[in-house]
Symmetry: D3
Subunit: 69 residues, 6 copies
């Protein structure tokens, strides 16, 4: 299976916080850093992930913002 | 200056490809990995970045997709 | 600090509604109009804003939709 | 016709720049400010807008980022 | 009224789940399939939709991801 | 492989238009309808798709807008 998005980061699920319709999945990136994804509880159920699972994070390039300090 | 987005990654600009209205900025992440951002040429001009510059990449959590292999 | 997004609007925080993982920040634009941003509670904490604070709102051009009546 | 997005700004089309598959529509906001939208040339054709036309700009709250200086 | 987005799907509202600030609208597509939209409760109120209503779903092409199995 | 997005539509690649950094992939949905995705040429190369290929289209619920006529 291939995706039309080359921005992929690997990591381990560190925390899953559930709201009433959405959830926040926090991932410890490999080798370092942290990133969160927000999706519906329906999608979380479909994913079937839990703390400690290895996952990939995808972000389309158009949704990435560059900042220069 | 603070941002309403905690998904931040640091890196170095590796390549800037210009189209007719958009551009693609490829960033070598620290310590490893690569990520691209697509924005308008207007924004690129505003940013004033060039190859080798240190930048931060931002992606709102709602625009990050989790994949489980 | 510079951003790769030229769509910037200034305004004053009018209301912050907190959900279980997300929050909605409503901003009174200067000189008129109103706009909302939805982000995680983590990002809100990072921002450290409260009612009455001056803020800027950013939206990447690709995420802006044009409508003709 | 009603939309599931309350972030609406009114303005006048100031410039339309065409690329090979995308275009950038720059809108002079009423009463002041400027905002750009990027969409496909197909969508531009569907919209049928030209310089001077009155339009509305829509951005979903989840795609709006708050910055505090 | 015309929109700068050609990705439009028609369907019938099947379910509306409300959270504290957001809601999830599930739509049964015509002729088949299902799709969800997440928006603020403010937008839902503005839309004024209920189960059984006919609606259109819009997604900008830049926010659509292609997958090849 | 599982994805954190339940909004999935199946179809056949009908056309691929290439720009200088981006491309537009138009997909004929099954059983009917049409949808476009815009991504970088890098992602297109990674996908390795051509006209006639079967693909899936993904859109996060937060990026889907509801319209009521």
């Amino acid at each position: 299976m291939k995706l039309g998005a080359r921005n992929q980061l690997k990591g381990t699920v560190q925390q899953i916080k559930k709201g009433s319709i959405m959830c926040q999945i926090t991932v410890e990136l490999d080798p370092k850093g942290r990133m969160s994804s927000v999706c519906t509880l329906d999608s979380l159920k479909e994913l079937g992930i839990k703390k400690g699972d290895k996952v990939r994070l995808i972000a389309k390039a158009v949704n990435v913002l560059v900042i220069k300090d």
